[in-house]
Amino acid sequence: MSSASAAVRIEGVHKRFVDKESGRTIVALRDIHLAIPRGTLCAFVGPDGSGKTTLLRLMAGLLRVDAGTIDMLGVDVRRDPQQIQDRISYMPQRFGLYEDLSVQENLDLYADLHGVAAEARVQRYQRLMDITGLARFTNRPAGKLSGGMKQKLGLACTLVRSPELLLLDEPTVGVDPLSRVELWEIVEQLRRDEQLTVIISTAYLDEAQRCAQVYVMHEGEVLAHGTPESLSQHACGRCFTASGDSRAPGRILQSQLLDAVDMVIDAVPLGGAVRFVLNEATAPDAAPLHAILKGARIEAEAPRLEDGFMVLMRAKLQHAAAEPRSAVPRLAARASPAPDPLAAGGAMIEVRDLVRKFDDFVAVNSTSFAVSRGEIFGLLGPNGAGKTTTFRMLCGLLPATSGFLQVAGVNLRTARADARRRIGYVSQKFSLYGNLSVLENLEFFGGAYGLRGKRLRERIDTVLEQFELRGLERTPSGHLPGGFKQRLGMAVGLLHEPDILFLDEPTSGTDPLARREFWRRITSLADTGVTIIITTHFLEEAEYCDRILIQDAGELKALGTPRDVWVQAGHSATSSLNMERAFIDIVQQSRQAEILRNAEVAHGA
């Protein structure tokens, strides 16, 4: 038996955990078999709780298997975990940086621990700094970096030396598209130059598409594995795009398609059109389908990994639940269609010359925009661009240094408490009381918003229906699965019927399945007239938005519909749009202009 060809060989691995509070046994992994050849790039994809992290931790020798063997680089991990830990690098999902140490001190610590020689260090640091853009911050304490920057520093600490094998657990969660591209460049270069084996878990299927091997995991089992191409074939001949009226947001057609649960497996707004995957039983010329498409032009598409993934997941879920997928509950439609943002004049949010400074640092510089009722408005930008600062000012959590800021007709600078009553906020992290039940959380926050008695009960009933939380009223909210926690967060945010709902990176780290469901809820919410302000790092999600704003270094760089922004990025109005491309182009163009300006100033002086 030769282990020379495989970097990792896993045979019959089982792993169980005992939940301390309830005493129940949770099966995390069930009979896993896999072999990963040396020098390849391999991805684990799957929903929350599918066992990806547990598998990586077992490989790193941080957990012990209950049964089966894990052979890493020819060593039985169970027998000699230290040898494995000497030879591999591992980036956990939550990379624990030492927050009171500076960026440089964190890097030095890991370089020392891995015994990186001084001369190798200079070169390595230079490259890591170039890629991560951390060079400006070397003396800053790690705790004072933005979320995305922390993630990049974590990756830099992991890559201070060249290991024989690299384990990355969702390394790009919360990292902006620009940096994601750069991070993947490092990973691929390492693999090429040093024949490194890389194993990565990710929620981004476009990242998995770059890998040689993909393992699709679901509830502790490997559902399917193969090359991205072979996995895509599960959706072969069933992928189409429908392009209709290019002025209406794609999400309208997309939500109609997604709701046709007996015909359509998946639908997303993409490239200005709607991409959808049909189930096996439905032919592309089926009459009920065309009733929805209403004469939109249909073209067959080559399947992508994401399409194959969705087909596999839907099949598995339907099989497990033995009941058909249900559409997200319809909400009472608003009385009148949303007024045109400019014509109506009644903007829900109006911002003029907004500035926020922290000491000398200008986090947000003279930004102006308006958002109208029922609009889905996306705030995009690289890490550290000022998105969070803008967001917090809009929510009234942070006062503006100067400028005009009106939310729901109330001036935030003069009547902050009043404005707050009109807005709901769902933070990135789950911020409800984990040991209170679903109902207790709703009652508490309802009370905090000033709801009581019959009114409170009515509202709680409504949101329980709306977010399908019935039957879970008594469950401690900390025990809810990830997607349910988010629903509860939104239910709480909407209890007091706000006019505006703020969502901070709600889809970071969630799988495509959960993201579809989430966006379906958001679009139906917008249909009822609620204004949605959202930040995201998934650029394809920008196409759900009516309009988006791109910020970089505190400045507004682009504003408009996704197509407007595509044109602003220098592309033709009729070409198929790619929001990720548009984002990267706009940020790079503005940064180059900045460099040129600085050079001119230096030259002139």
Partner: protein
């Protein structure tokens, strides 16, 4: 089945070399020191709190009785009666309040404004002439130890006055007050100041605080902040992680100890009768015990809040209550005495008290040092056992 044993690559083996171990240890220790210096709260607990405790206990908390207010009821205003109580007015321990009726005295006693009543009855001079004079002494008994001290002072003061009177009158009086010459003397705390007794105990308390309480937080903090997961998947050995935690806090403990000894000697003039090197050696042993306990608690709880609570209950409070710091263990029930002697602090407490106040008692030094060394080995060994590079 012949399993092919792959040759361990050079770059894996080099992690075992002494230089590599030293490099990692230095890197980890440097990290720990930086965190220590940047976290003001830890520095405050480690360095400021010992000084505060020293001053608080040295000046604020004293078991001595000084200027205890005493109501003196003079129902007989004759010169003989005045002569009997003049000693009370001269005593530095008592401060008499002169009254004429018992009624007033009782009111003051109830208001807790006086600690005792000395009543010279109306027939004092007449009874004295008959050789059977008596003085009533009443002491507020709510604080038993204070009450007995005051009672002692009162009887001693009154008795002395009696002796003097007998001397003066030249009468041979074999009965009644002042007939016996009592001269008492205290050993090992000649001044009978409780500062002498408290300061050595305070050193035990401060070492426990720095050793167990501070280190209880450091491992738990890494677990809580998730910093261990990435650190574990590196050539770092568990023993290096532990050593890197022990070294800086050991230094903080030594600084705390030095500050205690300096304040003890120069501010409170507590003598060090025994040998200083032995005192330092025993303190180092006890510091290691405390560090071991702290690291053990921290590794097991993995949660800062819980670790601080547990270390408070398991190390700091027992030092207060059960080690003989405040209460002499010989006076407590047998069960408490046994529990007290299971605590490492008790052994260090008795050793440091005798080293500072009595001198070198070799059998005791050898016994207690061996016990402390065994405890140090036990707790650090246990801490090493529970520190595994595993998440479950």
């Amino acid at each position: 089945m012949a399993h092919e044993v792959p040759a361990m690559p050079n770059r894996a083996r080099r992690h075992h070399s002494p230089q590599a171990v030293l490099l990692r240890l230095v890197a980890l220790t440097r990290k720990e020191v930086r965190q220590l210096l940047r976290d003001k709260s830890i520095l405050a607990i480690g360095l400021l709190l010992p000084v505060m405790l020293m001053l608080l206990f040295g000046y604020g908390l004293s078991l001595d009785v000084r200027n205890a207010p005493i109501a003196v009821v003079m129902e007989d205003a004759s010169p003989a009666a005045m002569d009997a109580i003049v000693g009370l007015q001269l005593s530095p321990f008592l401060s008499p309040v002169m009254l004429t009726t018992m009624h007033e005295a009782e009111a003051l006693m109830l208001a807790r404004e006086v600690d005792g009543i000395v009543r010279v009855p109306g027939d004092f001079s007449r009874a004295m002439a008959a050789g059977e004079a008596s003085i009533q002494v009443i002491v507020h008994g709510t604080e038993a130890s204070r009450a007995s001290i005051i009672l002692n002072y009162l009887t001693a003061t009154l008795a002395q006055q009696g002796i003097r009177r007998v001397d003066r009158s030249g009468l041979d009086n074999t009965s009644g007050i002042g007939s016996v010459d009592v001269e008492s003397r205290l050993w090992f705390n000649e001044a009978n100041t409780s500062t002498w007794y408290l300061v050595p105990g305070l050193i035990v308390l401060i070492i426990t605080l720095v050793g167990a309480f501070l280190t209880a937080l450091v491992m738990a903090r890494e677990w809580e902040r998730g910093t261990f997961e990435a650190l574990f998947v590196s050539p770092v050995r568990p023993v290096e992680i532990l050593l890197a935690k022990i070294i800086p806090y050991f230094c903080v403990g030594i600084i705390g100890l030095t500050m205690c000894l300096v304040t003890a000697t120069f501010l409170f003039a507590v003598p060090i009768q025994g040998s200083l090197p032995i005192l330092l050696f025993a303190s180092v042993l006890y510091l290691l015990v405390a560090l071991g306990i702290g690291l053990l608690i921290s590794s097991v709880t993995r949660n800062q809040f819980m670790a601080s609570q547990v270390s408070l209950l398991a190390s700091l409070l027992p030092v207060f209550m059960l080690s003989g710091f405040m209460f002499d263990l010989r006076n407590v029930p047998a069960v408490i005495n046994i529990i007290g002697h299971l605590l490492p602090a008790t052994h260090f407490m008795s050793l440091i008290k005798s080293l500072m106040l009595a001198g070198n008692v070799w059998p005791q030094i050898i016994l207690e040092c061996s016990i402390l060394a065994a405890y140090a080995a036990l707790f650090i060994g246990l801490a090493r056992m529970v520190t595994r590079k595993r998440l479950d």
